[in-house]
């Protein structure tokens, strides 16, 4: 790395740290603190997940297992700190979570990392279901449906730092988010991190140059499990409770959506995904009851049209800025974005009206005018918006491919 780029990276990390410190001063309300704590947990979990998906090409449908087990280890340790008067501060529990996640990864990865691709995904699904089912069965460990709760105010305090006030919980989570993010970023620069990329792209060649792809996968799996466990322990300290649900398919699916929508190909992608989806979850759910449908729609659109996710789009724009091609590419991108927004608007309108067909309620309102679901005209408008948006997207794509707007508007293919 050259001096200038080292300086730049240092600046970015410094900026990240300052952002984490300043955030609660800007958003000081209780609700925003709660939301930021939840986002912090998801950021670590999504980054840990992407270590598998983005960096090593392993699609896991059961990563919540490590998150949950890390959380359970932390909550049991919390109880032990209280009852046994262990001299460990609660603020150090993420280390316990990390080790628990890693231990679970060591056992499960031992057989699941022998396979890659689709079989690996299937094993992870099977193991996930298995552990989630036993979570409800072994009541003494997992606490049955109510889960296990703890008390984060127990144990000694470091430099008078207690986990009582909510702002302190925020700084506790922020510290660990920063540490974990930095560690995971540093991991991408290590030889093992680079090898993981190589295994993702071409395992045969990695085997030819003398490394064992299985071993590389296993090591990455271990570390990823550790960070997932760390995220689980943050969640345990934040909520002071952990339930077997956290081990299950819903949690595994959520982290997959975050990492992929945010962008699996770039390091910061999952952070975008975690923030975006957590915000959607907490804010959108106030406006509409079907926000999960929008999330699903967003996921399918990303899989189809932007396989590198939102982070990939951001990286593309940054790359164009660096090369000085922004002026040339921007009009096409803006037009594509406009088309996407129009089509999504039409889809939202159709979905909201469809929801009211069954449930009733006040008519869907946008830009000051109401669109009753009983009127055929509002359905026509929704369909028209979707069609218009898709048409704009098609023209924008052709524009980029054919070089000029005039050629893009002509229906027939022109010879290049």
């Amino acid at each position: 790395m050259t001096g200038a780029s080292t300086f730049k990276t240092l600046l970015i990390w410094l900026g990240f740290a300052v952002l984490l410190i300043v955030l609660p001063m800007v958003f000081a309300s209780r609700t925003s603190l709660t939301l930021m704590n939840i986002i912090g947990v998801w950021v670590v979990f999504a980054l840990a997940y992407n270590m598998l998906l983005g960096q090593s090409g392993m699609l896991s449908f059961g990563h919540a297992v490590y998150f949950g087990l890390g959380g359970y280890a932390a909550i049991h340790m919390m109880a032990a700190i209280k009852s046994q008067r262990l001299g460990i501060p609660v603020a150090a529990l993420p280390v316990v979570g990390f080790m628990a996640g890693m231990a679970a990864g060591a056992v499960i990865g031992w057989f699941s990392c022998r396979r890659s691709g689709t079989p690996f995904a299937m094993i992870s699904l099977g193991v996930g279901e298995l552990i989630a089912a036993s979570g409800l069965m072994f009541v003494s460990i997992f606490g049955g449906e109510e889960g296990v709760s703890g008390d984060r105010s127990a144990g000694p305090e470091w430099f008078g730092f207690s986990l009582g006030p909510q702002i302190n919980v925020y700084y506790f989570i922020a510290f660990w988010v920063f540490a974990a993010t930095l560690a995971m970023w540093a991991f991408t620069k290590t030889p093992l991190g680079r090898l993981a990329n190589a295994v993702r792209d071409n395992p045969d060649r990695v085997a030819f140059i003398g490394y064992d792809p299985q071993r590389v996968r296993y090591l990455v799996f271990l570390i990823s499990g550790g960070f997932a466990g760390l995220a689980g322990s943050l969640s345990a300290v934040n909520f002071e409770i952990i339930t077997p649900e956290k081990l299950g398919a819903l949690n595994s699916g959520a982290v997959l959506l975050m990492a992929y929508i945010g962008g699996a190909a770039v390091f910061f992608g999952p952070i975008i995904g975690a923030v975006l989806i957590s915000l959607m979850q907490s804010m959108l759910s106030d406006f509409t009851k079907v926000w999960q449908l929008y999330l699903g729609l967003l996921f399918v659109v990303v899989v189809m049209f932007a396989p590198y996710g939102i982070g990939g789009i951001v990286a593309q724009v940054l790359n164009a800025v660096r090369k000085g091609e922004l002026a040339e590419k921007l009009p096409g991108w803006l037009m594509g974005a406009l088309g996407a927004i129009v089509a999504f608007g039409g889809a939202i309108m159709a979905i909201e009206m469809a929801y009211r067909v069954r449930e009733g309620g006040r008519p869907f309102t946008a830009f000051g005018s109401a669109f009753p679901h009983t009127a055929l005209s509002s359905w026509a408008i929704a369909a028209g918006l979707i069609a218009l948006g898709l048409a704009i997207v098609v023209v924008a794509v052709r524009w980029r491919r054919r070089g000029s707007l005039g050629a893009a508007l002509r229906l027939k293919e022109v010879a290049p």
Binding site: R114, P119, P307
Partner: protein, 313 residues
Amino acid sequence: MMETIVFSTLNGVLYGLLLFMLASGLTLIFSMMGVLNFAHASFYMLGAYVAFTLGSVTGFWVALILAPLVVGLFGAVVERFGLRHVHKNGHVAELLFTFGIAYLIEEIVKLIWGKNPLPYTPPPILQQPLFTLWGTHYPAFRIFMMVVAIAMFVALWALLKRTRVGLIVQASLSNPHMVGHLGHNVPLVFMGVFAVGCAMAGLAGVIGGALLVTDPAMALTLGPIVFVVVVVGGMGSLGGAFVASILIGLIQTFAVAVDASLSDLLARFGILVSNRSDLGRITLAQVAPMLPFLILVLVLIFRPRGLMGARES
């Protein structure tokens, strides 16, 4: 004792055949296109819901024919406008796409039909008892279901192995370019295969929805088990899927029926577990939902190609 064994066998085979109806479509799609369709159980769910809605207008028998067609058509649309574009990004992208579709279908079903279970039942003529064993009536619908499942297996097998269409479909898998040069429309073949697979899931839904429950969670409960069946049977092997379906159906039904705890089982092997510990209290019936996944993991460790699979993955 005899009663338990006979009923468990009957119900186990019944459940296994339902699993097979789902697994056969999934196996077909997987073996032809290499796509492990994560949304397969969602098409099953759609079949049940569409049949319920159609059935309230046209009656059960018309819905039995129409609902799978509707689901198959929907599957064709999904393949044509979705899956085909994702194909170039590799198998993981395809798996993710079908995962997204499964998520979407579940939400759409909740949007249209609500979150509560539907009162979807078989027609009265199939509800009457066919025979009575030890005082318990065995409804005709269950036998009807067995007949449909077996007919489906035979039809599919005959189509693939005995007709020209099957020949082209099989050739498209191994030599798509050659088949294309011979003048067949290979993308159309794939679309057709996907549609037929989805229609089969839809047919399973028409019957399974009436047999079990029709609610938005039905895809999530059955979906993972169908994967287990396909993987345990050997990916892409129709016969393997059949054997694995029946096997898992029987194992799960017997585990529910047997009223023993794990500690009883362990005691047979001389391991004594206190009745007050978790391990002592858990009954075999409680473990039943876990068994398929245990089998999946064991098979993938010790026999990765499954019971009757030809290739590894």
